[in-house]
Each structure stands twice: as structure tokens, then as C-alpha cells.
Amino acid sequence: MERRCLDAQFKGVSTGVSKNNYVSSKTINKVIQVHDRIFCCMAGSLADAQAVLKAAKFHLSFHSVQMESQPQVIAAASVLKDLCYKNKDELQAGFITAGWDRKKGPQIYVVSLGGMLISQQVTIGGSGSTYIYGYVDAKYRPDMSREECLQFATNALALAMGRDNVSGGVAHLVVITESGAEHIVVPGNKLPKFNDE
């Protein structure tokens, strides 16, 4: 089961889920909220990813009660990383965790399949991501405004969905800032079109 995800202090995912060549759902939401201002994108086997996220949500809310404050984004990412690393032989799931916390502001962390955890300014993942490495490298700038970022994420998703046969359906975007999280859904027919369509 494959899908793609893009993150740049924004999260965007497409919604197709497929098994072999059958698309089992066109409308799955792969951006999951694990805390008020922390969201995760799933990649790889969605069953594994959902199971890991469920455990992570529990760990995180317990951690947040113990610390008596909002969890840091890196805490969420570390919880996911521990689960992925310790069970690396059984699991096939990767995550992009993004959010905002009071200590470091907006952050993005990538947990890869084997359990590596790194922080990046912009990151892409999933099967469709290979097609947009060039686009993201060329078009990303560190100083974009909210609208520019939104446009960049939407364009990148649209381009990848146009080329990857197992990505598609609807695009989900989440904008996370100090004041909260806003979920934007862009149906396939409203996505930007490029020359090949």
C-alpha cells in the first residue's frame, strides 16, 4: 500500500490506498492528529502505521500528563521512532511528524522505515515522492509566506498525483501555527493542472 506525503511546516497528503492493483479506498485521511498542535503523516503499510500511531497517541498523552504541559514535537517523533526502531523486523511504516511547540516553534521530523529520526525544513515521502524531488529542490525557499507555502504544497501534491499511479483521490493539507491547526481538503478536480492534462 503506497501513498505520498509532503511537509514544509504544512502537511499535505494524497488519499489513495491500494493493494496490488486494486484501489481499496480513494478517501483515506493519512494525516493524523496526535496532539493539539502535532500531526503525523503515515507512509508504508497503513495497517502498521495506524497501529503505531495508536500506541504513540497513548504514550504521548500520558507523557503530557506527567510533564503537565503540551508535549514537544520532538517528543512525538521520538515515541514513533522508538516503536519503529525496536520493532523494525515486523513493521513497515514511516512517518513525517510536524507541529508547533512553545520551545522551538514549528518543526518537522522524519522517522524512516528502520527507525532513523532526523529534522528537516522540508521533506517528502511515499511512493509518489520520487517524482517531485526535482520540483521541491527547485521551488522550495526557506522564507515563504503561508499562502506561498500552501500553493507550493498543493502544486507538489498535484504533480506527484499526476505521475504516480498509486497516489490520487483527494489532497489533505493541515496548517499548524501557534494559534492552532487548520485542515484544508482539496478534491482532485480542484487541484492545479499542469501541461499534461
Binding site: 517524482y131 517531485i132 524531488y133 526535482g134 527547485a138 507538489a156 504533480l159 499542469f194 499534461d196
Partner: protein
């Protein structure tokens, strides 16, 4: 007992990992390629020119197995020479592309190479043909090779119809640079060939003169 293990790369097939592309503009075409040839994890040639002439104004870009691609190009070069003598004038780009396609299709099980054919002729001006797996299709631009996967999004977003020669050259150089940065099998220098009615210009852009992006 003298035991010598030969290096792995001697027994690996030599592939032109590669990023290649060709784009047509109003009066001609621009072809571009990287220069890395790999055998497994070894780079066996870092300055190979993968843009091979088939005729004065028709070039092809090689990718896949280096031996297969070179052989196809040489055979078609010969066949085109004979053909152009028979018709008494310069061959059409479509003819060259057909010759490449005929070989790719007939021997598709044995060969593993993909050639993009591009050039200029008097009848149709600049043309680009893709011959992947034995099909033949004319396209406004074509990309190929292992590095091309990473730039599908970029070329989809950036290509516009009616670009000038200079814009096309810039487009090719940017695309090559992006792909070479991401694909382990592409790298080295960028070769550019611009073909139009009046001349065929070959250019090399060295690694440090290639455009850089935000993370470099």
C-alpha cells in the same frame, strides 16, 4: 596458494545510469545529458558524452546498458548514412527515430537501452521522439534514464509551449542539475547539444558551473 579476487565492478554490467532529456523549440531542439557511467557501485567513466550524433542534424541521447545503447546508435548511424545516400538529401528525424525504434522493438528481449532521438529537418523543423521499449512517439519534450524519475514533477510544472532557445537551454540545465543531485547514478558534467537550421552546437557545463538550489 595465490588467490586474487578481482574487483566487483569488473563483472558488473556497465550501465549509463543517467539523466537524459530533449526538448523542441520553434526552430530546433536542445538535448541534454549527464556524464556518469557506473558498473555497480563504481563510476567507471565520469565524463562520458551520452549525446551521440546519428547525422549532421540528428542526435540521440543514450541511457540504460552502455553497450546496448552505443551499439544501437552506431548501427543506426550507418543505416542513416546509407538511407541519406539513397534519397539524395538529409534524412528526416522521423526516419532516424524509426530506425532506432525498429531495433529496440525487434530485440526488446535482449536489449536494455532507451534512446531519445531529436533533431532538425527541413520538413517539420525541430522534433523529439521517444523510443522506449520499442514504441515511437513524438513529444514536445522527453526525459529518460534513472534520474528522470526525480524530475517528472519539475518538468511537468516548468514546461511551457513556445519557449525560446535560451529558455530551453536553461530548462535543460536546471533539470539535469536537479536530477544529478538526487540520482546516485547520474552526475559529473552536463552536455548540451542545440540543433537548429543553421548549426549544431555542442557545449559542456562543468560540475561547479551548474545551477545550485536551496540546500547546496
Amino acid at each position: 596458494m595465490l588467490e586474487e579476487n578481482e574487483p566487483e565492478w569488473l563483472s558488473e554490467e556497465v550501465k549509463t545510469g543517467t539523466t537524459i532529456l530533449a526538448i523542441e523549440f520553434a526552430d530546433g531542439v536542445v538535448l541534454g545529458s549527464d556524464s556518469r557511467v557506473s558498473a555497480g557501485a563504481s563510476v567507471v567513466n565520469r565524463v562520458m558524452n551520452k549525446l551521440s550524433p546519428l547525422h549532421d542534424k540528428i542526435y540521440c541521447a543514450l541511457s540504460g546498458s552502455a553497450a546496448d545503447a552505443q551499439t544501437i546508435a552506431e548501427v543506426v548511424n550507418y543505416q542513416l548514412d546509407v538511407h541519406s545516400m539513397e534519397i539524395g538529401e538529409d534524412p528526416q528525424v522521423r526516419s532516424a527515430a524509426n530506425l532506432v525504434r525498429n531495433i529496440s522493438y525487434k530485440y526488446k528481449e535482449e536489449l536494455s537501452a532507451h534512446l531519445i532521438v531529436a533533431g532538425w529537418d527541413r520538413r517539420e523543423g525541430g522534433q523529439v521522439f521517444a523510443t522506449l521499449n520499442g514504441l515511437l512517439t513524438r513529444q514536445p519534450f522527453a526525459i529518460g534514464g534513472s534520474g528522470s524519475s526525480y524530475v517528472y514533477g519539475f518538468v511537468d510544472a516548468e514546461y511551457r509551449r513556445g519557449m525560446s532557445k535560451e529558455e530551453c537551454q536553461k530548462f535543460v540545465v536546471n533539470t539535469l542539475s536537479l536530477a544529478m543531485n538526487r540520482d546516485g547514478s547520474s552526475g559529473g558534467v552536463a552536455y548540451l547539444v542545440t540543433i537548429d537550421e543553421h548549426n549544431t552546437e555542442e557545449k559542456v557545463i562543468l560540475g561547479n558551473d551548474l545551477p545550485t538550489f536551496y540546500d547546496q
